[in-house]
């Protein structure tokens, strides 16, 4: 993978902030209450240290995975620590809800869908391509197991990963998540080149 400079990473962070900003607007309308979201950090890390970064391989998380279809292919993975997915469900459903219940699972998938769609539309607009998310799929398990698919995808093109930290604000609950953007090996160069060109 080509290296990105500090400035290019900042650009990617800004882009992500616009994406999650759109997602927050959609979520706010859904629950009838103001919710803010931002991406405070974009980090490039060594693949083998990703599980530690997310609190250790055995920590329980909810992961929502969507395939990206259209002009560029790939995937998006959103990870919420167990406490955050519970807080998120409480906020959205206005009551206690188990992330493993039918209602809990479909709500988390819908959150994934909203976030991914908003993010992809911003990214697509910038790159002048069409990006469509697939139906979301959910896994509730150890973080190592949930992210290793992502690491495998990235492992085919290099040994580093982009991780976008995402946090909610304007709310009492402490909700944090991580999301991974995973272009397929064939799409990665297109995206990198466009970022370099648009930033430069």
């Amino acid at each position: 993978m080509k290296k990105l400079s500090e400035g290019e990473l900042d650009f990617l962070r800004e882009l992500s902030n616009i994406g999650v900003g759109h997602a927050a607007t959609a979520l706010s309308q859904l629950i009838g209450r103001q919710v803010g979201m931002r991406v405070p950090k974009v980090t490039i890390v060594d693949l083998s240290s990703v599980p530690e970064l997310m609190g250790g391989s055995e920590r329980i998380v909810s992961g929502v995975y969507l395939q990206v279809l259209g002009d560029a292919r790939g995937g998006i993975l959103l990870i919420f620590p167990d406490e955050s997915s519970k807080a998120l469900l409480k906020l959205l459903l206005k009551g206690e809800e188990d992330p493993l219940s039918e209602m809990g699972m479909s709500t988390l998938k819908e959150v994934g869908n909203i976030l991914a769609s908003a993010y992809l539309s911003v990214l697509g607009n910038m790159l002048d391509i069409t990006l469509i998310p697939s139906i979301p799929s959910l896994a509730h398990d150890m973080v190592g197991a949930v992210v290793d698919l992502v690491l495998i995808n990235l492992g085919e093109v290099g040994d580093t990963a982009f991780v976008f930290e995402t946090e909610f604000y304007d709310i009492a609950e402490d909700i944090k998540g991580h999301f991974f953007l995973l272009p397929d090996p064939d799409s990665i160069d297109v995206i990198m080149e466009t970022i370099k060109r648009k930033h430069g």
Binding site: M1, L47, S48, V50, P51, G56, S57, E58, I60, G63, Y65, Q67, L69, S134, I135, S137, L138, A139, H140, D141, M142, V143, G144, A145, V146, V147, D148, L149, L151, I152, G155, E156, V157, G158, D159, P185
Partner: protein
């Protein structure tokens, strides 16, 4: 008992009363090679089937074929004999149900690559706990060759 943690895309060798552990395997696969005669073994945590199929190989230990051959070389340096060696594997799950499927999931491809590599070296597979849609934590006891598989929603298995 000492515990040695095997990180993703790595392998570790141990002997005597040691526990080799790898946490939270999804589609990845844990491969254990063990010489019961001298109670010495290794555990690898592999991510991908073959090192020659990718554009930028990078760290070779993430591949089934290369990880096994590096691990074997190091085990032989420690006195292990390939013809005494046995293997155990775990992992290779399919964590997400994909709408547009690949021909074969990566978990299955990893498993096939490991089995091919073991067959090539005539190392018998003594135990296997693969597939499903859940994560696994694996412990291997070099003292007696037992492998423990722990998961969130299933009982602990011993092989």
């Amino acid at each position: 008992m000492d515990r040695i943690v095997v990180k993703i895309a790595d392998y570790r060798i141990a002997s005597g009363s040691t526990i080799l552990t790898t946490y939270g395997l999804g589609s990845c696969l844990a491969v254990v090679l063990y010489d019961p005669e001298i109670k010495t073994g290794g555990m690898g945590h592999i991510m991908l089937p073959n090192g020659n199929s990718v554009r930028e190989p990078g760290n070779p230990k993430k591949f089934a074929d290369l990880c096994i051959s590096y691990m074997l070389r190091e085990l032989e340096d420690k006195g292990c004999k390939t013809d005494r060696m046995v293997a155990k594997i775990a992992g290779g799950a399919k964590m997400f149900e994909l709408q547009y499927k690949e021909k074969l999931g990566i978990g299955e491809r990893n498993r096939d690559a490991v089995l091919a590599e073991l067959a090539k070296r005539r190392i018998p597979l003594m135990a296997e706990d693969t597939g499903g849609n859940y994560g696994r934590t694996v412990e291997f006891y070099t003292e007696n060759g037992h492998m423990l598989i722990k998961s969130l929603r299933h009982a602990t298995k011993v092989t």
